[in-house]
Symmetry: C2
Subunit: 282 residues, 2 copies
């Protein structure tokens, strides 16, 4: 049970985290911090937070400070918070990249009060209105470089995420960023690119509007995601994202080559090989 928690960023992740903990009676009082006044008002109205305060005052009053903002601003904001806290307070972030942040905090005297977390949950929507009850359940949450955090700090975050129904996974920050590139960041790039492919065509013909549905919707829905959140992720995770993007383009070229050469036996092999994804998603 947390008495007072601050969420920095009152959007999809911070808001859903707050709702989940409130629903389970795991937090008494939630303070919201945001640069955007309209977001704070909406977060208050929706019950994501109980109070809105400036960062310094919010941090002073909180046992746990949970940072869920775009990863480019996460780095300076977490550093700023780390300079404000005392040795019994706990800071955690929820960002989709981990190496840049962990490196930036490596030599901070209170590093052990920080826990690097990534709850692997999200939707293509953002802002306070996107926060939902029941988020995170059934998904994995990564904690990076657990050994750099104090046991009580790790234990608190583990207990909160576990209460929300998450499965805990542990790895170093660089491994996290590599895996995140493969199973999350590339999905967003392919969706963005597929949307642009179709929109390029759609200029010429509006029939696509009438026909879109099902499989198309499934593969392209991530293209609705917020560029202000995703651009910094791609920037910070550039090397891993480029690795997987190159591999993905190479895989697409195999399909192209099979079609061009009418090598349908190999095309079938490629599809049968892809079917093995059933081992991972059911």
């Amino acid at each position: 049970m947390v008495d007072t928690m601050t969420i920095v960023g009152v959007g999809l992740i911070g808001g859903s985290f707050s709702l989940g903990l409130k629903d389970r009676g795991l937090v008494r009082h939630v303070i919201g911090v945001s640069d955007t006044k309209a977001s704070l008002e909406k977060a208050l109205e929706l019950g994501l937070i109980d109070e809105a305060l400036p960062l310094e005052e919010a941090v002073r009053r909180s046992q746990l400070i949970y940072v869920a903002i775009p990863v480019d601003v996460t780095v300076p904001v977490v550093r700023q918070i780390m300079d404000l806290i005392g040795p019994s307070q706990i800071v955690a972030d929820a960002g989709s990249t981990k190496l840049a942040l962990c490196e930036s905090l490596a030599s901070h005297p209170l590093r052990s009060r920080f826990v690097a977390t990534h709850p692997m949950w999200g939707t293509e929507y953002s802002g306070p209105e996107a926060a939902v009850h029941g988020a995170f359940a059934g998904r994995s949450c990564v904690i990076c470089s657990k050994e750099d955090s104090a046991p009580d700090a790790v234990a608190l975050l583990e207990s909160l995420y576990t209460a929300l129904g998450m499965n805990m996974v542990y790895m170093d920050a660089n491994s996290h960023d590599m895996h995140a590139a493969y199973i999350s960041h590339i999905s967003h790039i392919t969706s963005f690119a597929l949307a642009n492919t179709v929109l390029e065509k759609e200029k010429e013909d509006s029939a696509i509007f009438e026909l879109a549905g099902g499989g198309f919707e499934s593969t392209v829905r991530l293209a609705k995601s917020n560029p202000s959140m995703w651009l910094p992720i791609f920037q910070q995770n550039k090397e891993h994202v480029l690795d997987v993007l190159n591999e993905h383009i190479a895989q697409l070229r195999k399909f192209k080559s099979c079609l061009e050469k009418e090598n349908y036996a190999y095309l079938r092999e490629l599809m049968e090989s892809a079917n093995k994804i059933k081992r991972i998603i059911r």
Copy 2:
């Protein structure tokens, strides 16, 4: 109301079509035709069909013959059926490509008894067990080259699909195949290729198993689709699929180039442009 209907192919589409019509009392008796004895037994057990018969006998007894099998076998099987029917019977197919089939029937003396349809609904599953109640609703159904079919034949198919909740769309077979490449076939290729991208990596590390979820699942679920259904679609629609695949690879290269050159202003533009897909899917 159809008295007796034959479905050729007792899988996802044929089975769901039968269930939908039975649920609404729009067909009295459904005969199933399949080369696979186990599928017929399963279809009988699941109530998708009332009786299993060889093709010739089934056709002779049916007012409507509905063909829902892979598009490569659709062409010869529909031709065979067309040679068996009389001038009051109606034949329709549900295939994902239309030009090859329509061309092959162009000079058939009973061409007007055939209606080329494509209900734009499906899942990544196949076989009788994949058939579901409530399929098709809220999606579009394309009828190709309506002017080549008799008004009573078109009217019957329109009334059945409309009763299932579909929105009718009309276009020529070549336009259909082009649009289908853009809003359906490419989604499958990107999913197959993305699955192979990840599985290639996963050989080296099993952490992906634990982390996969959400956005990944959404973009990759079509990779579970049946190669025996999709290979003939890609074959028949080769030119259009190559067009869109080339465009998609070009779009992915733009993302790659932005990352390599750290041209983040243009990367943001690409993502903002992709966000316009919200106009098409909500």
